[in-house]
C-alpha cells in the first residue's frame, strides 16, 4: 500500500493499523475487502428502505453496515451506524433517518479514499 493511499484512508476515518492487524498484516487481503466494500449493496438498501419507510429493512442494512465498517476499522462510519442502529432499536426511526446526510458524507469520503 502506498503511503499516499494509507494517508487518504486514515484521513477518511479508517484506522489502517488496527485493520491490518485484523487481517494478520495481509495488506492485499485488506485492500481486496476495501474494494468489496465498494460493491456492497447494503448502503443502497439502507437508502431505499428509509425512502419507503421500511424500518425493519433499514435496521437490518444499518446493522450489517455497522459490523462491516467495524471489521474494516472505519471508525467514523462505525460510530454513525452504531448510533443509527441504536435509534432504530429505541423505536425512533425519524432520528435514525435524520442521520442520513451525515452518514452519506462520511460514506462518500470513505468511498472516495478507497477508489482514488
Amino acid at each position: 500500500m502506498s503511503p499516499g493511499k494509507r494517508e487518504r484512508l486514515v484521513s477518511a476515518g479508517i484506522d489502517v493499523d488496527e485493520a491490518l492487524s485484523r487481517f494478520l498484516d495481509n495488506e492485499s487481503l485488506f485492500e481486496r475487502f476495501l474494494n468489496k466494500f465498494l460493491e456492497d449493496r447494503n448502503y443502497l438498501k439502507l437508502g431505499e428502505a428509509i425512502a419507503s419507510g421500511d424500518n425493519e429493512a433499514a435496521l437490518a442494512a444499518s446493522h450489517t453496515l455497522k459490523g462491516l465498517c467495524s471489521n474494516l476499522s472505519m471508525k467514523r462510519l462505525t460510530e454513525l451506524f452504531t448510533l443509527q442502529v441504536k435509534a432504530y432499536r429505541a423505536e425512533d426511526p425519524d432520528l435514525a433517518a435524520s442521520m442520513m446526510p451525515e452518514i452519506s458524507k462520511a460514506y462518500d469520503e470513505t468511498v472516495a479514499a478507497i477508489s482514488e
Binding site: S21, R22, F23, L24, N26, L29, R32, F33, K36, F37, D40, A60, H63, T64, K66, G67, L68, S70, N71, L72, S73, T82, V85, R89
Partner: protein
C-alpha cells in the same frame, strides 16, 4: 495407534455462517491457517449444512442478524437436535443486547464474540473450546471402545463358565456310562419349559438362563457315589439306594464349596436344584420330604425333565422306552408325583421336546 484412531473421527473444519462476505473473509483469513473452512451465506444454508453432516464440523461461527433464518433460530434448531452439545457454537455479532445474550447462552452457545474481532483473542477463545470438545470426544471414543472390549471379554468369560460347568457335569455323567448329551438335554428342556410355557411367566431372560445353567449341575453329587453302586446294572439294595440318595445332599455340599459359584446368580438355583430334584409333589421324595409348593418351581422342572430323559434313553439299568410308554408312565405316576399344572405344561411342550430324541 490408539491415539491415531481416536483422532481419525474428529474433524478440523469450521463452518462460518454470516451473510456478509467481508466478515466471512476476515474470519476465514484468521482461521484458515489452523482449520479447514466451510462457509454459508445465511442461516438456512448454514443449518442445512450442519444437519446434513454434523460430524463434519469442529465448530460453527454464527452471525445473529441474517436473512432467511437468523442466528438465534439456527441455534434453536441445533439445540432441538441436541447438536449444541456435540459441536461448539460461537456467536459472532456486531452488537447484542442482554436479552439476546441470555437467550443465546440458554440455547447452548459456547461463547459470544463481538465484532470487530481481534484475531489473537478470537483464535484463543475458539481454539481452547474446540480443543476441549476434541478431548471430550477422544475420551468418549476411548471409553466406548473399552466398553466394547469389556463386553466382549465378559461374553467370553460367561461362555467359558458355561463350558466349565458342562465339563464338570459331563465328566460326572461319564462315570455312569452316559454321554454329555444328558446334561445338555436337561438344560434345553428346562430352558424350553421356562421360555415357551407359562411356567416362566414374569421371569427375566437372565433368570431363565441362570436356571437352565444351574440345571446342568443337578447330578454333580454323584461324584461322591461309589462306582459299584453308580454303575450297578441291576436293582439297588435298600442300603445301596440310601447311599445313592445322598447324591442330592452331596451335590449341594459340593456346590457350596465353590466360592466363585456362590457369588454368581446361578448358585442359589444350582444348590436348590441339586438338593431338591428328587422331591415329590406328595411329600414322599428325598432328601427333605418337601411337599407341593415347598419345592421350588425350578427343582420341579428339572425333576420332570430328568425323569423324562431317563425314560426316553437307555440307561445301565434299563432300555429306552418308546415315546407313548414314556408319556403313559409319567401320566400314571410311575416315576413320581408331579404338580398338575407342571404336568399340563409339560405334556403340551412335549410335542416339541420329543424331537430332541429323534435326531
Amino acid at each position: 495407534m490408539d491415539i491415531l484412531r481416536d483422532d481419525a473421527a474428529i474433524s478440523d473444519m469450521i463452518l462460518i455462517v454470516d451473510d456478509d462476505d467481508i466478515n466471512r473473509g476476515i474470519l476465514d483469513n484468521i482461521f484458515s491457517q489452523y482449520y479447514s473452512i466451510d462457509e454459508a451465506e445465511n442461516g438456512r444454508t448454514g443449518l442445512e449444512k450442519i444437519l446434513k453432516d454434523p460430524d463434519r464440523y469442529c465448530a460453527v461461527l454464527l452471525d445473529i442478524m441474517m436473512p432467511e433464518m437468523n442466528g438465534i433460530e439456527v441455534l434453536k434448531r441445533l439445540r432441538d437436535e441436541e447438536l449444541t452439545e456435540k459441536i461448539p457454537i460461537f456467536l459472532i455479532t456486531a452488537e447484542a443486547n442482554n436479552e439476546t445474550l441470555h437467550e443465546a447462552y440458554r440455547l447452548g452457545v459456547m461463547d459470544v464474540i463481538l465484532k470487530p474481532v481481534t484475531p489473537y483473542i478470537v483464535l484463543r477463545r475458539i481454539n481452547s473450546i474446540v480443543e476441549l470438545f476434541r478431548a471430550r470426544k477422544r475420551l468418549g471414543n476411548r471409553v466406548e471402545r473399552q466398553n466394547e472390549k469389556l463386553i466382549e471379554s465378559a461374553k467370553k468369560i460367561i461362555e467359558l463358565n458355561k463350558g466349565m460347568i458342562e465339563a464338570l457335569s459331563t465328566a460326572i455323567e461319564f462315570r455312569n456310562g452316559e454321554s454329555g448329551e444328558h446334561v445338555r438335554r436337561i438344560h434345553d428342556i428346562t430352558e424350553f419349559l421356562l421360555k415357551e410355557t407359562e411356567l416362566g411367566a414374569g421371569m427375566t431372560s437372565e433368570e431363565i438362563a441362570n436356571i437352565a445353567l444351574a440345571s446342568i449341575m443337578h447330578d454333580v453329587g454323584k461324584i461322591a457315589i461309589p462306582d459299584n453302586i453308580l454303575g450297578k446294572p441291576g436293582r439297588l439294595t435298600k442300603e445301596e439306594f440310601e447311599i445313592m440318595k445322598t447324591h442330592t445332599t452331596q451335590g449341594g455340599l459340593l456346590l457350596e464349596k465353590i466360592p466363585q459359584l456362590r457369588d454368581s446368580g446361578v448358585y442359589s438355583y444350582a444348590y436348590d436344584i441339586a438338593r431338591h430334584h428328587h422331591e415329590r409333589w406328595d411329600g414322599r421324595g428325598y432328601p427333605d420330604g418337601l411337599k407341593g409348593d415347598e419345592i421350588s418351581l425350578w427343582a420341579q422342572i428339572v425333576s420332570i425333565a430328568d425323569v423324562y430323559d431317563a425314560l426316553s434313553c437307555k440307561r445301565v439299568y434299563k432300555d429306552a422306552f418308546p415315546r407313548e410308554k414314556v408319556l403313559q408312565m409319567i401320566k400314571d405316576g410311575e416315576c413320581g408325583v408331579f404338580n398338575p399344572k407342571l404336568l399340563d405344561c409339560f405334556f403340551r411342550a412335549e410335542e416339541t421336546l420329543c424331537k430332541l430324541y429323534t435326531a
